[in-house]
């Protein structure tokens, strides 16, 4: 692509060409269209600024009432109680639990599926399974939430496994979230591994390595940046996932020590609190945005790490 960039650059740089080209480029109306296209692109920046402003304004009001230190490090979350307390740690631990459990499920399953599809499966099998995987990635999260609550928690955990748990658990939400993330991780890491040139596999085989050795020691490291990107995307989906945790993890904000307990995540809090009608400008209303701001900052950090990691491990062929 990089070799093509200059030609595109000169195509757009209107002042450079010959005289005749110049007049054509500044054909009446075309300038306007180009400006409209540019505005559409700039709109995406407006959205980001909008997010920051929309989150910051109520958050500033919130932090005028609640010290930021108390918010970030407080261990009791009870915004609607008479003796209200705004320590966000319980929400953060619940998010960490559900995301952690989800990754424990999604990484082995997703990578296993991806390696199999990319390195072992017959091309025809791969051609059938890959679209199915993509189809499954489109299952809406409310359906996963219903499944987590009505089947995984109520039937599998309580009836079949006889676990000591209530109507909700962090574990059920986490496991189902992991299953939800599997197609994403599998699909992206499969793309990354398929992109590793065939010559590298052949070279490895020529040195006497078997398929497993080729996969683990040649293909996997070569595709590492794509695989890490897939995992990081999985993390940020887990942190931001709302419906599964709102439906299956429960609504009680507490520091989760046992995955069979219920717990309220950051997203679960926002979803639940938004159900109650909070007056604009009230502390309940501002709390939503303060938690939203924290969530936004966390995903920004994850995304930033992802971009750095991908750059660091990228191997260009």
């Amino acid at each position: 692509m990089s070799t093509l960039a200059p030609s595109r650059g000169s195509a757009s740089g209107s002042t450079r060409g010959t005289g005749s080209l110049k007049t054509k480029i500044s054909k009446p109306g075309e300038r306007v269209v180009l400006i409209v296209l540019r505005l559409a692109a700039a709109l995406t920046v407006v959205i980001t600024i909008g997010i920051i402003v929309a989150l910051l304004l109520p958050s500033i009001q919130f932090f005028a009432e609640v010290p930021i230190f108390e918010f970030l490090f407080g261990t009791r979350w009870a915004p609607r109680f008479a003796d209200a307390s705004f320590g966000v740690i319980p929400l953060v631990t619940a998010t960490a639990w559900t995301t952690g459990i989800a990754l424990l499920v999604a990484i082995p399953l997703g990578l296993g599926a991806a390696i199999f599809l990319s390195e072992y499966a017959h091309p025809n099998l791969r051609k059938t399974l890959k679209p199915i995987l993509e189809l499954l990635a489109g299952i809406p999260t409310v359906v996963f939430g219903l499944f987590a609550l009505q089947f995984v928690q109520a039937v599998v955990f309580k009836q079949w496994l006889n676990l000591d748990t209530g109507a909700f658990s962090v574990l059920a939400a986490g496991v189902v979230m992991g299953v939800m993330i599997v197609p994403t991780i599998a699909s992206i890491s499969e793309d990354a591994m398929s992109a590793v040139p065939q010559s590298m596999r052949q070279g490895s085989a020529a040195l006497g390595a078997n398929r497993m050795q080729t996969t683990v020691k040649v293909v996997f490291p070569a595709a590492l940046s794509g695989i890490l990107a897939a995992i990081v995307l999985g993390i940020s989906r887990g942190v931001g996932e709302t419906m599964i945790v709102a439906m299956a993890a429960g609504g009680q904000a507490q520091i989760v020590t046992n995955p069979l307990d219920q717990g309220q995540t950051m997203t679960g809090f926002i979803a639940n609190a938004a159900l109650g009608d909070s007056r604009v400008g009230s502390i309940e209303y501002n709390t939503l945005f303060a938690v939203g701001l924290l969530l936004f900052v966390i995903t920004l950090i994850i995304n930033y790490i992802s971009i750095r990691v991908v750059r660091k491990f990228r191997e260009a062929y």
Partner: protein, 304 residues
């Protein structure tokens, strides 16, 4: 490195001892590895299969005409999905009208006209990537905050929900459209320019039409994501008892995912059956949309 060389040497020795090159494929280690990979695929697919089967089994008894014609009701026997289906259609239609032109325009600018060395354009690119990773519920807060700021009292309107979902899927459409445009070979653009077309004519008459299958696939996938999304609408207060057909951009509404969430959170088991039945309807629509997208990609996408 030394270790891998040693083990490779070991493998070669073993292979030659056995007298066949692929001998090491059947070592205990590599067979275990293959079995683990198989298990990964098998477990992933079977859990997703169980999800679909349990939803079907739970819901099919209630999947009758009432689901499509009736309004929500406190009586599970009479309750239906009609306003939610119409609400989803209104919202998704609005999202499509808002985002597809905007997303394609933004992608055209970034891919075809923007000077890649310009800082602002690079910032826009990075920003689009970032936006795609922002949790959906944050877009709900953005819409809530904006509607409050411009003084809208009734936030549960079709337009509000559609704007929230549009912002959510816009980056997805921009990214997939850019990929589709990038796949169009440079020679087509050069040929067009050589024949005297302006860059804009080239983009609209050659590049864009060639990229339509890719753009269609990306847009359908993005819209199906918006259709299944509930979190931002929940924040905007779409969880309401709607007993009328939504009839405009400013009309109150609820959507299918929200209705499923509502029915799931009720204590009576009859409502859970209803939720499963509604899930079947939603799944059927989404799978159909995704299948169309995948078919378009596999059948109409040109390989150069």
């Amino acid at each position: 490195m030394a270790f891998s060389n040693m083990s490779l040497g070991g493998q070669i020795q073993k292979a030659s001892l056995k007298g066949r090159v692929r001998g090491s494929e059947s070592s205990a280690k590599s067979i275990t590895f293959l079995i683990l990979l198989w298990l990964g695929l098998l477990i992933a697919f079977s859990v997703l299969l169980v999800l679909i089967v349990t939803t079907l089994l739970d819901g099919y008894t209630r999947l009758d005409a009432r689901i499509f014609t009736n309004y929500p009701s406190a009586n599970p026997e009479k309750a239906g999905l009609r306003p939610a289906i119409l609400g989803s259609l209104w919202v998704i239609g609005t999202v499509a009208v808002l985002t597809i032109p905007l997303g394609v325009a933004a992608a055209l600018h970034l891919e075809e006209f923007a000077n890649k060395h310009n800082r602002f354009n690079r910032f826009i690119e990075l920003n689009v990537q970032n936006l795609a990773a922002v949790p959906s519920i944050v877009y709900g807060l953005l819409a809530l905050g904006t509607l409050t700021l411009i003084g809208v009292k009734e936030k549960n309107i079709v337009l509000g929900g559609a704007v929230a979902l549009s912002m959510l899927v816009l980056p997805v459409i921009v990214i997939s459209t850019r990929e589709a445009l990038r796949a169009v070979p440079m020679e087509i653009r050069q040929g067009s320019l050589a024949l005297g077309a302006t860059p804009l004519q080239t983009a609209f008459r050659q590049t864009l039409p060639s990229a339509v299958p890719g753009i269609a696939t990306g847009s359908i996938l993005a819209l199906s994501r918006a259709l299944g999304e509930a979190a931002p609408l929940l924040v905007l207060g779409a969880l309401v008892f709607v007993r009328f057909d939504p009839n405009g951009l400013l009309s109150g509404y609820t959507t299918m995912p929200i209705q499923i969430f509502n029915w799931t959170s009720r204590p009576q088991p009859e409502f859970h059956v209803l939720a499963a039945a509604a899930s079947i309807v939603l799944l059927a629509i989404l799978i159909a949309m995704n299948a169309v997208a995948i078919i378009i990609r596999n059948r109409y996408q040109r390989r150069w």
